[in-house]
């Protein structure tokens, strides 16, 4: 029996009573049980809870008949809070943390009839590009188990790529949905900043973080975004813009679309196989009627340093709450250390808790961020970075609003395909530089999508990234969907997942 693998197929099958939600759920859990030991995509699988939920949907199917995600198994990145379910951010610091509340997106998935099956691995506190910085070990790329799946939403991307669930949510601070999407061969969408509520997302960098879907097709990503998007009274940075039905935008018609290509930005450091795949993908869109034009983004080359100043500054503050006082990990403080005052005991507890609770990359970023916000350095680093951020935003605004404005800007999502696990662990700077094409969208708050566009000779997936206008996810999804109609990449499964 072949399994329905898209959201739409599963939902329609459950809705038509061809399958029960419980059957779909058990099958997903079976596949997770079979493949997760190799992939390490999940930190936590909530099998009993998921089956109970699916059975409840089946029992009350009349009430749920119109639910847009009826019976669809969903995986959640483990930095999205789930009431009653351990939420770790892949950190020893939160190893045993069980939130008493759910993220807004989780509530929305519940209301849409989804069945949450588990929490996926990530780089600790979403800091990294490979899912190697996890307290629970690296996730492996389903296409090549010795390689990284990308990060930080590596567990979510691997889960969808290996067909464990048709939908996973990730979070994207500098490419953390799009880059693992590209390296695992699935669609990853980072919405406009403010499009999706961040309430209940464990913060990395508040002005950059956005939650978004990882799915097999642009259509599924559109469906998922329609559900999770929208204003939220609990998130003051969520936007009031109404949410369209994004699936309605998927007309296949891209004849009026103008796609900008920042040639100069792409001149250096892109793997030739990646370049060829991107060029071929753009040819497909041109043959469908889209117009390709060159655009200049003169300040985009500064995006990496700007990003690592802004993100680390915010992170150093966001992670201050993990102090061992109220929840999470607290280092044992032996009584016989000659501590004479309560204050000394407190300082020792803070130091040990944070030294033992955080991994090396998180500590590195806390130190960087603390430094750039310090008296005497703030103006030179943090403030300067914010000024350059404004210049990058202006570049994009001009590209999207000039007389010869474009509707989307195309780039590779990642300059290289997935690299071997362990290759860059000792070279954080090289790891940071791989974010060159993704971080701009976060700095300027624009939506961006990664869509699978081919493979290297060694069968490693490659992703095409399209960045769009503020709140114009619809155009990105239409372009991605049109591209999928003329290509077969999104239908391919890695050997490990073939049935």
């Amino acid at each position: 029996m072949t399994i329905a693998t898209t959201i739409r197929e599963i939902r329609d099958a459950v809705r038509a009573r061809h399958r029960s939600a419980a059957d779909v759920c058990r099958e997903a859990l079976d596949r997770i049980a079979a493949l997760n030991p190799q992939l390490n995509a999940f930190n936590t699988v909530i099998a009993d809870r998921a089956i109970a939920r699916a059975e409840a949907l089946d029992r009350d199917r009349d009430r749920w008949r119109d639910a847009p995600l009826l019976g669809v198994p969903v995986a959640l990145k483990d930095n999205l809070c789930t009431r009653g379910v351990r939420t770790t951010a892949s950190s020893r610091m939160l190893d045993t943390f069980v939130p008493p509340y759910s993220a807004t997106v989780v509530e929305k998935l519940d209301a849409a009839g989804a069945v949450i099956v588990g929490k996926t691995n990530l780089d600790e506190f979403a800091m990294g590009s490979s899912t190697e910085n996890s307290a629970f070990g690296p996730t492996r790329n389903p296409w090549a188990l010795d390689r990284i799946p990308g990060g930080t939403s590596g567990g979510s991307a691997a889960a969808v790529a290996a067909d464990l669930t048709p939908l996973a949510l990730g979070s994207d601070t500098g490419g953390s949905i799009r880059q693992p999407g590209a390296l695992c061969g699935v669609v990853g969408l980072k919405p406009t900043y403010g499009r999706v509520s961040r309430y209940g997302l464990i913060a990395h960098a508040s002005s950059l973080d956005q939650i978004g879907p990882l799915a097999r097709t642009a259509h599924d990503a559109a469906l998922a975004l329609s559900i999770i998007a929208g204003p939220d009274p609990a998130d003051a940075t969520s936007a009031p813009e109404p949410v369209p039905d994004y699936t309605a935008a998927l007309t296949g018609d891209v004849r009026n679309a103008r796609i900008g290509i920042p040639r100069r930005l792409l001149e250096q450091g892109v793997d030739p196989e990646v370049s060829r795949a991107i060029d071929a993908a753009l040819d497909v869109l041109r043959s469908r009627g889209a117009t390709l034009v060159d655009v200049e983004l003169p300040h985009a080359k500064y995006a990496i340093p700007v990003y690592y100043l802004v993100a680390t500054a915010e992170a150093s503050s966001n992670l201050a709450r993990y102090d061992g006082v109220r929840y999470g990990y607290r280092a044992p403080t032996p009584k016989d250390q000659g501590l004479t005052t309560k204050d000394q005991g407190l300082r020792t507890m803070y130091g040990k808790t944070r030294a033992q609770g955080f991994g090396p990359e998180v500590k590195r970023r806390i130190m960087l961020g603390t430094y750039v916000l310090s008296a005497g350095y703030y103006d030179a680093y943090y403030l300067k970075a914010q000024q350059v951020r404004t210049l990058i935003l202006r570049d994009y605004d001009e590209a999207f609003s000039d007389v010869d404005a474009v509707d989307a800007i195309a780039m590779p999502t990642s300059p290289t395909p997935a690299f071997p696990i362990g290759e860059r662990v000792s070279d954080p700077l090289q790891m940071y530089l791989a974010d060159v094409f993704t971080v701009s969208a976060n700095l300027v708050g624009l939506p961006a999508i990664s869509v699978p566009c081919g493979f290297t000779a060694g069968r490693l997936p490659i992703g095409l990234q399209l960045t769009g206008r503020r709140f114009d996810e619809a155009t990105l999804l239409r372009l991605a969907d049109a591209y999928e109609r003329d290509t077969e990449w999104s239908k391919q499964l890695p050997p490990i997942a073939s049935r």
Partner: protein, 471 residues
């Protein structure tokens, strides 16, 4: 050499909003520990702040009363430091672009008024294991505060205490703060330096904390000023530092030096958009502002011809001033109302430890009592008894006077009868009076009033007695 002190104050006032500044939890004081808490004010992972606009409105009220300019756009910032009562590891405050700036009150410049959240409360004492442990109550975490920073315009401890007291009345008057220093809902720190009289440059300052009563504020500043003058007189230099008032020891002690001062690493709070206050909202708030104590004091003098002293006393609180004006509106003459309110009523309220709002005697009933005296229905001395009875029973003056037959005796024949009786019983006093000892007259008046059980009209008694004595 003569020195003068230079003092600026930093005042933290909790706003009286129903809920906290960034979440829906109750901001009420006194609940059992950690019962007014939620993911937001506990700083749980993923929780986000949402601004309570009622706190902004209250802060605008306070800033307007202090003559400040309200800025259309202000920005929240994070003040980063570690302490167990600060659940997020940062306090959301305002730094570079505060809500309001550039005000003045009673000749003291106001640098800024900004909004921020309070921290929880560390309980270092009072538990069996307090020698080893500190407990934290997060009920206060996220309660809205305004911080008011004055210019260094104050020149003595007494001036500082007086200014702080007036500021307190204004905040309480506006209904934005309860003025309760013991519960910590109003707190004050002071920046103090000294310099030779006539010098232009400021001396090195010390920040003095823990001034949680008016008395401590004044004593701590007196001590600190004397300490700094002592240091300089002996050829030493004042060190820039934070000092703590130790009320038990009666002195300030060093808490941390400038070198140990925190680097708070302020940066704009990315979880909150800028606070935008449009001019219409400011205008609405301004037009709905109550008349402030200073203005009301001046009006009482002009409109009611009250002495300055009376006007000052009656405008101590808004409720008291309202009470006074209600009594006048009910027909009582202003000065008589003032006398009754500052005299009998204040005494009774103090005796029973009640506020004017809890007076069992309403302003209109007091006005009725005053009217009974004024129109001669009862005498002044009877009125005091009636007042006591009104206060105790809640009955009106009219009811008490009617029920107890206290109406003043004006009838000439009745008074003449009483006089005749007294004169016949005190022939010797009459003789003394007629012999030239006129002081005996007072004794005889007293006897007549006594015979009348205090109810006789004293003016008529005087007239008729004089007549009867044939003077």
């Amino acid at each position: 050499m003569d020195y003068e002190a230079v003092i600026g104050l930093e005042i933290h006032a909790q706003l009286l909003t129903a809920s906290k500044i960034f979440c829906g939890c109750s901001a009420a004081f006194g609940a059992p520990p950690n019962t007014h808490v939620c993911p937001v004010c506990l700083g749980l992972p993923g929780a986000l702040p949402v601004l309570n606009r009622a706190a902004v409105d209250d802060a605008i009220r306070a800033a307007l009363a202090l003559g400040c300019t309200i800025h259309e756009t202000s920005i929240f910032a994070r003040k980063n430091y570690f302490y167990p009562d600060l659940p997020k590891g940062y306090q959301i405050s305002q730094y570079e672009q505060p809500l309001a700036t550039d005000g003045e009150m009673d000749g003291v410049g106001i640098i800024r008024v900004h909004l921020e959240e309070d921290a929880g409360k560390s309980l270092h004492e009072g538990f069996p294991d307090s020698d080893r442990k500190t407990y934290v109550d997060y009920n206060r975490s996220g309660v809205p505060l305004i911080e008011i920073v004055t210019q260094p315009d104050l020149r003595s401890a007494a001036d500082a205490a007086e200014f702080f007291s007036r500021l307190r009345s204004v905040l309480v008057w506006l209904g934005v703060n309860d003025g309760n220093m013991e519960e910590g809902s109003l707190r004050c720190d002071a920046n103090v330096s000294v310099r030779p009289v006539g010098a232009q440059n400021l001396g090195t300052k010390a920040e003095v904390k823990n001034l949680n009563s008016f008395r401590f504020l004044q004593k701590a500043l007196e001590h600190e000023i004397a300490r700094q003058i002592g240091v300089i007189s002996e050829g030493g230099r004042v060190v820039q530092e934070t000092r703590l008032w130790d009320s038990a020891a009666g002195r300030t002690v060093s808490m941390r030096s400038k070198e140990e001062a925190h680097d708070y690493r302020y940066f704009p709070e990315p979880d909150l958009p800028p606070v935008v206050v449009d001019a219409n909202r400011v205008q609405q708030i301004r037009s709905a502002m109550p008349e402030l104590p200073g203005a009301r004091r001046r009006r009482f003098v002009e409109q009611y011809a009250l002495p300055e002293y009376d006007a000052g006393q009656l405008t101590q609180t808004r409720a008291l001033a309202d009470y006074f004006e209600s009594a006048v509106a009910a027909g009582a003459p202003a000065k008589l109302s003032s006398n009754w309110i500052m005299g009998e009523l204040a005494r009774k309220l103090k005796e029973e430890d009640r506020g004017i709002d809890a007076s069992p005697l309403t302003a209109s009933r007091l006005a009725e009592l005053i009217a009974l005296v004024n129109n001669g229905t009862i005498s002044g001395s009877i009125a005091k008894d009636v007042f006591e009875k009104m206060f105790a029973s809640g009955r009106t003056a009219g009811e008490i006077v009617a029920a107890e037959g206290l109406t003043q005796i004006d009838d000439e024949s009745q008074i003449v009868g009483l006089i005749a009786d007294v004169l016949s019983r005190h022939a010797d006093a009459v003789a003394q009076y007629r012999g030239g000892k006129t002081t005996t007259f007072g004794f005889l008046v007293g006897q007549v009033m006594k015979a009348a059980a205090g109810k006789a009209n004293p003016k008529r008694v005087n007239e008729l007695l004089r007549k009867a004595l044939g003077a």
